[in-house]
Symmetry: C2
Subunit: 141 residues, 2 copies
DNA sequence: CGCCCAGTTGCAAACGGATCGCAATTAGAG
DNA sequence: CTCTAATTGCGATCCGTTTGCAACTGGGCG
């Protein structure tokens, strides 16, 4: 959903004053190429395919740092593992296929608006939210 | 949200053929009395206040069983711990106060309907969903 | 260009919530 | 009351994530 700042990740890191090390460069490359919502193990696997020897703890630490900088977004779906994607320029929510685990993105202006509306009715201000629709292909099985 | 089958939990267990043991009786009592969304540690604490000696593994196992029977609902909010509430007769979603952790329930027919609508548009059938609004009291802070 | 140090890394240990194996106990059907 | 399958307590174990620490290095500065 909304790819655009493809090359920006590495540059953004430089701007934020993060050191561009070997491991980090590869992790950024993997993240930039990712079209899905990989967990840490999967990221580590992809990194290892490019350059073996990068420790998984480094992947964890890098993801923490990137999240703090707001460069990536962290999710926890039903399996409980941390998953990541590049911070989208415009917010979206997710379908998750209960059989395959495949994640599909969507955005509903109406739902977003209704959330604000109901929060206001309760006297709240929304800080963040999470909407996940666990689905299966219609009619088949 | 929608209390009603207050006494039913224990009876429901009997119907499902679950043995009513000492520990289980206390756990059911705690669950029936709960107005919130306690995690396992909190449940165990409340159980211990009534009858010490019940192991936390027993709480875990009982919650698993009750969930399988559909008598309670299991949630995982942002802190990652398992939380429970009696299965509501009508579905609802949650506000979570980001400062206090307090959980408030709400239901929006419109949002529920829009979820179905957008799922259909994508060719999906919704199996379950999760909507959590992380909030703070409006204008204060 | 080379120095130097704060930031980063690899590795192993620790963490914490949840689960499991096992032997002892017990609910409750007959 | 008997008998068995379900349940329990306890400790060990799992597994994803975090952390302490010593070694390493990117990149600003001289
Ligand atoms: Mn996404
Ligand atoms: Mn609830
Ligand atoms: Zn949304
Ligand atoms: Zn809902």
């Amino acid at each position: 959903m909304t790819r655009a700042k493809q090359k920006t990740l590495l540059e953004a890191c430089r701007q934020q004053g993060l050191r561009i090390t070997g491991p980090r460069r590869v992790i950024l490359e993997v993240l930039s190429a990712a079209e899905d919502h990989p967990d840490v193990e999967e990221l580590h696997r992809r990194v290892a395919a490019i350059e073996p020897g990068v420790n998984i703890a480094t992947v964890y630490r890098t993801m923490t740092k990137l999240t703090e900088q707001g460069l990536i977004e962290r999710h926890v779906f039903e399996d409980g593992r941390l998953r990541f994607e590049r911070a989208p320029e415009v917010h979206h929510d997710h379908f998750i296929d209960v059989e395959t685990g495949k994640v599909v993105e969507f955005r509903s202006e109406e739902i977003e608006r209704l959330q604000e509306e109901i929060a206001e009715k309760y006297g709240y201000e929304i800080v963040s939210h999470r909407l996940e629709l666990y689905v299966r292909p219609r009619s088949g099985s």
